[in-house]
Symmetry: D2
Subunit: 172 residues, 4 copies
Amino acid sequence: MPDLPGTCAERPFARTTAQTATRRGTKLAAVRDAYPHRLELQTRWADNDVYGHVNNAHYYVFFDTVINRWLIEQGGLDIHGGSVIGVCAESHCRYAAPLGFPQTIEAGLRVGRLGRSSVRYELGLFAERTEEPAATGWFVHVFVNRASRRPTQIPEPLRAALERLVTTTESG
Amino acid sequence: MPDLPGTCAERPFARTTAQTATRRGTKLAAVRDAYPHRLELQTRWADNDVYGHVNNAHYYVFFDTVINRWLIEQGGLDIHGGSVIGVCAESHCRYAAPLGFPQTIEAGLRVGRLGRSSVRYELGLFAERTEEPAATGWFVHVFVNRASRRPTQIPEPLRAALERLVTTTESG
Amino acid sequence: MPDLPGTCAERPFARTTAQTATRRGTKLAAVRDAYPHRLELQTRWADNDVYGHVNNAHYYVFFDTVINRWLIEQGGLDIHGGSVIGVCAESHCRYAAPLGFPQTIEAGLRVGRLGRSSVRYELGLFAERTEEPAATGWFVHVFVNRASRRPTQIPEPLRAALERLVTTTESG
Amino acid sequence: MPDLPGTCAERPFARTTAQTATRRGTKLAAVRDAYPHRLELQTRWADNDVYGHVNNAHYYVFFDTVINRWLIEQGGLDIHGGSVIGVCAESHCRYAAPLGFPQTIEAGLRVGRLGRSSVRYELGLFAERTEEPAATGWFVHVFVNRASRRPTQIPEPLRAALERLVTTTESG
């Protein structure tokens, strides 16, 4: 994972990197249409911090809200009593432009890689009437047995829901 | 707690271990002593999510709490009226073991790269009486003019405070 | 304010009190129609606490979200630079039934009393397809000068927006 | 900080002062010493809202943090698997002075009424080196069976812990 934002140092909001995510030599645009699932998300008064915009940590709240709603509504995830749950193993966000209450945000979700027991989601957050994302990120869920918390195969209804979000690209 | 997602059998994503962060060919341990600044952080009832542990997004709340307290207390950052503020351009977290209320956490902070207008912090979160981090992450601040929100040189008292956290290593 | 929940002790979710709010000898129903402004609010993954439902503190986040959106969208409140801001002086919530992610909530808002510099809002939160509120509460804003933080007369566009939410009742 | 909304000229709502809470004709001071249990609480960067102080909803996060830590550490409450859990039935807060990150807060906790299955806590939040509370509030827990969610008698170790916080006063 080449996770050094080296180019970021003096060009913090460089759109060239915000607009594309390089993965294994391929490039996937982060424009809205590149996300097969999209969901409008409300901001809240308390999201804004002292600098007047949504606090950086809340972007991850948006991420796992759109992810878990997909898993619940499309994959039948039972967050209260199901035997398999998804735990976050890794997450990342690149902030390109501020968002702020009372804006409504559109979140885009796709699956970048689907493994036996884990999945890597890719996300974009968009302000209304903008094509360029205000933020892009990714988030890794490992599915584990609720009791033992050991990795387990993704059960079928969940896998089917995740497969519908897989995006494949041939080249960059 | 034997349930680390980081130990999952298939290791689906390229990763170093939770204990090391690769940066330009060097390796910096993520053990407590590798962080020159450490701060105890309290957890709160509301941090725990439905799965019984601190929600993944709150780790970033811990990150910018320890960072901003350093900037305020050591660097004289004036979050209410100062002309220069730090905005988050990128953040990342790798989760190795769960944390949960009512635990007390120790956060470790160091500076991995200090540029003209930006800084990359590296962080570790530790449960009590453990040497291995429950989570490691990094966080990029770009310092901008409060009014124009354009990148600006890090002013002197802040730079001096950040320099005290710079850790350099020669090899891995 | 007779604020002892004495009747609550052994009948915690007693609907008789949840359904009505006694105020100065009058009773206002807390059914949906009793709130002139209503807004759908999304829940988020992180709202749920370890007991599986929206944490009690988040109900107040819902309250000031619906309140501030009204002030901004209908009254022209400028939260970033306006000379008058609303600060919370007192708040209260009675919880009648649980709410939980991924539910969508409907919030109801009315004004119970409108003073020279302050306003008391009354709120209800409803699960979908229910007539009885899951929670009722109230919230007092005092409008102050942003710089001095001293109470100030509610400016005209805000007052007009608030007056549209005033509900008066003659008897109970 | 002279900007207490509580001192606003018109005093629009019937209230006692921030320093006293009237209960059945008795008055309990809200000074620090009136709370048998006190706990320091850290603020976090994300607590501050756009107006520069801790958001009103977070005061309730402070409340249930100090309450639940007492129940866990003194009363043996098992929040993950215990058969009895405490759910919030009602809460209230009066805000007298602002609090803000990076302040450390002292929370005071006492029990105002202890019933068969419910308890009413009274709380005060204090800035450092102040005798007058920045906020006072109360919070009602009803103890219920985890599975049925029906009220149940407070089990013995919890009751003993709560009894140690009961404060009784004879007159005002």
